[in-house]
Symmetry: C2
Subunit: 205 residues, 2 copies
DNA sequence: TAAATATACGAGTATCTACTCGTATATTTC
DNA sequence: GAAATATACGAGTAGATACTCGTATATTTA
């Protein structure tokens, strides 16, 4: 039974064009997710948008949920810059100032990345996709909780956690309205309302 | 060409068992929508839950969106009692008291009617269903705006409208968490957070 | 250069879903 | 009681979708 050398062939390194294809598929997935929503986004449509065949798509991803996972991780990476900026606001700033530091960039990011809303604004994704994006969602929750904890140094961590959850849900509720606002003035007004709602909640929570 | 008497046969009156079937189908739809969500809820599953054949279902409803419409109207009717109670709170009560008068019954209603959340908590239903439930959604918006207007007698109606929209989105964001809370204590805590969020927003808006 | 493997294709498959249709029975109307 | 119609059935249809498979080419490794 002792098997000295089972040469389970390790996959040879991915080629440069493979990496490029993956990037192209993730980009296409963002477009299709944004246009049709997570359940109506078909793998064939993603392949078409990427300019490749369905077979090639499955050369790099094992399932639609796997594509969603890659897309969510892509957004997490893109957001890390934003997160750094946010975390850099001084420890002594007011709740309102911190909210301003978060809301503006987040709205800008959502506008620039239309697929982001499709993946993160919904709390009831199909099970397989929800599982796929859960790690990134939890990381975002952690970031928000850390930020909120600065203003609630005396509070129980469980309280801070709950407050972070509520704040995220408020953002989730408002973001679709903001993104799909018919004109910039409406968008700005709704963004201001989001700031008001967050400030109102967090100063009372 | 002049046709003096085109006897377009007017459909004979629906029988009592037909009315009963319709009630049964709507009830079944609520169950299936709650269990699977609006897009995964299949008409065959609704028929099975109602204990009838797919063909019989289409005897009474022309499409899945048509069933969603009937369900949303059913909820609107069920909610009219709640609305009456809410509207009866005195004109002079505080914002907080009014919020309490709304949130408690609304959470209770959502818990007692699991399909309600599936239809009303989502802002991105498939187009045909969204159109089907739009009238009821608008009626609910009107009710909320009327209630809010009591505290904002000086405000422009457009402002009141926008504030009502934001308040509804806050509720929409929180309701899934409240309904799916793992235990009653968590549910009560989240319901309290919803009250806090609404009070915080409305006193600042 | 030759073997090995990554990339690429796209028609095809199994499965699912909204909805139909031919047919049969229950109820109402006259 | 008989014609007309509402109710009921459930196998069947057309269309869609996630994913596969046989095959062919490009690239890398030795």
């Amino acid at each position: 039974m002792t098997d000295p050398a089972v040469p389970i062939r390790t996959r040879r390194k991915r080629q440069a064009r493979g990496e490029e294809r993956i990037r192209e598929i993730v980009r296409a997935a963002a477009v299709v997710f944004a246009e049709r929503g997570p359940e109506a986004a078909t793998t064939n449509a993603i392949a078409a948008e990427a300019g490749i065949s369905p077979g090639s798509l499955y050369q790099f991803f094992s399932s639609k949920a796997d594509i969603a996972r890659a897309l969510s991780e892509h957004y997490a990476a893109e957001l890390s810059g934003v997160r750094q900026t946010i975390m850099d606001v001084g420890q002594g700033t007011s709740i309102e100032a911190s909210i301003d530091a978060v809301v503006g960039p987040l709205v800008a990011f959502s506008l620039a990345h239309p697929g982001f809303k499709a993946l993160f604004a919904r709390s009831d994704l199909p099970a397989d996709m929800r599982d796929a994006v859960a790690p990134v969602q939890q990381a975002m929750h952690q970031t928000v909780a850390t930020l909120i904890a600065r203003f609630m140094t005396e509070r129980d961590p469980a309280d801070v956690d709950r407050i972070a959850t509520v704040a995220i849900q408020i953002v989730r509720g408002m973001m679709p309205l903001i993104i799909e606002a018919p004109d910039p003035a409406t968008r700005d007004a709704l963004t201001a309302e989001l700031r008001t709602a967050l400030a109102g909640y967090l100063t009372r929570a």
